[in-house]
Amino acid sequence: MSQHDTTHAPKATGGGLIGWIVGLLVLVVGMVVAGFVLDAGQVWVVPETQSYVALGGTADAPERWVASASEAGQAAAAAGTVVVASSWETVTELPAGAADRPAAAVMSWNRTIGVWLAAILTLCIMSFLIGDNPFYKTAEALVVGASAAYWMVYSFYTGIVDKLLVNLWPGLVRSWTTPGLADDYHWHWIYIIPLILSIMLVCRLLPSGGWIARWPLAFIIGATAGFRLLAHLESDFLLQIKGTITSLWAVNAADTFAFWPSVSAIVILLSVLACLVYFFFSMEHTGLVGKTARGGILVLMVTFGAAFGLTVMGRITLLTERFDFLFKDWLHLL
């Protein structure tokens, strides 16, 4: 990456540095006060132990699991026929800021730290509105790093293990990640081809074997193009033409003429034609063609305006959701 590709936080000097330090101090003091006064970010849970016993079979292959507290479980325990027992703890999270906590409730440090981290990182990202700064940069780097790691691990298990290895070495996958895999699930030789293509693709990293990767890349590009062509043709071309021209005379459920749906259909048809004329550059846009093209521009502007309005709505919702989190889950103000 060249020097020009990176953005740098402006150097905080003089008043800027003092401003940031004062702001940070106020924020830290505010957080400490919020932590003590509002119990900010505290997450309380009610732990519950789940105990199950296996009846019948062997310890390695039990036949049936029942809850220890059930009649069958207690009877088996009394009779000494329990093959193997297992227990673990589950927790039920209480609503944020719940006043009446049950006696069994305990504070979950893991979840509390998680809420605090999320709140601090949210504020760090929001600080970009004031200007580029080290807090924003730190949060941004954390997001990028965590996302990359998550994608890598997730892709390995869902792509390589669950799609490739399971079809080549089902026994290995059964003993490793998928004990529920059917015993009669056998390997499929066809998956040798994607294995070879994958290895060829990795050859791109070799200093002198980069050309090998072009073969699987050609396969991917060709297959994807063919794959998408048909789908686009049907849903984005033929179906759209049909939808535009076949419903001008709309009828309602009682099979009588529906005025407004018909008007709507005619407006859509005229708008489509006007937009098509605007993008038709083989004729000079003068006279009737010019006027129609101007109508097309108008339709496009309305479309862009609607898209912008919906985008604004989406962005405001994101901000609302973050405030909701800060006020409800972190500060317990709601």
Partner: protein, 289 residues
């Protein structure tokens, strides 16, 4: 004054916008809102199915879009549960899977009579985007050998006889981008003639309107669509208005609560746009523009 407005610090506008959103959130301000025909169409698509129908619910979004899409995802889950439909969860986005877990937790807490495997099942995430859809339309078990809990599909009552996605009675995609609603339309709803409805982000909505009414029966556009859907839901199922549902972790009125900040922020936006134009025209009349 004019000079002050002309050189207004953009950070001041950010602050005003922040307050315009934060104050309604704190006040829990909810403006009156109308249900649109589109919201009603989506509701009817789920409601008109016979009880116990098979519905594929795909969570094709990630935390970046949860503000817009999670409320409608939870509304769909509640509606399907109320109608006792069989819910088949899956996602085409890797970060969609935690939301499926949240939806299943909601089912465990609010509808404890529904059981995993007989009333709902999760297939989790599979990489491949449109290729996943293309595969499950032909042969489900060719691609999904197990569910997301790594259980053999032949052992799960809901999936024992499942051949392909063609056996679904309705597709629902909650989409934040690609792969998402567009791909479900192209590779499932159109070729297999499957009924489909969708919920999507505001950015995507204009792209999907051309697909209505065929193959999309209805579309919930952004938080406004989700709020409309919640309103219809609470009219049909009054229990959803009770504090137990309203104050739950996934509130049954989450989208409606977010319409207050929308209302105030939009008013502010309109005011700022008008103000900017007034300054522009004044400048132009004075020969400054």
């Amino acid at each position: 004054m004019l000079n002050l407005l002309r050189n207004l610090d953009r950070r001041l506008i950010f602050l005003i916008m922040g307050l315009a959103v934060a104050i309604p959130v704190l006040m829990r301000f909810e403006p009156p809102s109308e249900v649109t025909m589109m919201d009603q169409n989506v509701f009817d698509a789920v409601q008109d199915l016979p009880d116990g129908s098979r519905v594929l619910l795909s969570f094709d979004f990630d935390p970046g879009s949860q503000g817009e899409l999670l409320p409608m995802a939870m509304s769909f889950t509640r509606h399907l549960a109320e109608k006792k439909h069989k819910i088949y969860f899956m996602c085409l986005w890797p970060l969609g899977e935690p939301f499926i877990e949240d939806a299943m937790k909601l089912l465990q807490e609010e509808y404890p009579h529904l059981k995993y495997g007989t009333d709902y099942v999760s297939f989790g995430y599979k990489p491949g985007g449109e290729a996943v859809i293309k595969n499950i339309i032909v042969d489900w078990k060719q691609l999904f050998i197990t569910d997301s809990r790594k259980q053999d599909l032949k052992e799960i009552p809901m999936t024992m006889k499942l051949k392909s996605a063609k056996s679904m009675d309705l597709l629902i995609s909650i989409s934040a981008g690609d792969p998402g609603t567009k791909q479900w339309i192209q590779y499932a709803a159109t070729p297999a003639k499957l009924p489909m409805v969708s919920g999507c982000t505001g950015v995507q909505a204009p792209l999907f309107y051309p697909y209505i009414p065929d193959p999309l029966s209805g579309l919930l556009a952004a938080i406004k669509g989700a709020a409309g859907y919640e309103k219809i839901m609470s009219e049909h199922y009054p229990d959803l208005k009770t504090p137990a549902f309203v104050k739950s972790r996934f509130s049954s009125t989450a989208a409606q609560q977010r319409m207050g900040p929308q209302f105030v922020a939009h008013l502010l936006m309109v005011a700022l746009i008008l103000l900017g134009n007034v300054i522009f025209f004044i400048d132009r009349s004075q020969g400054n523009a």
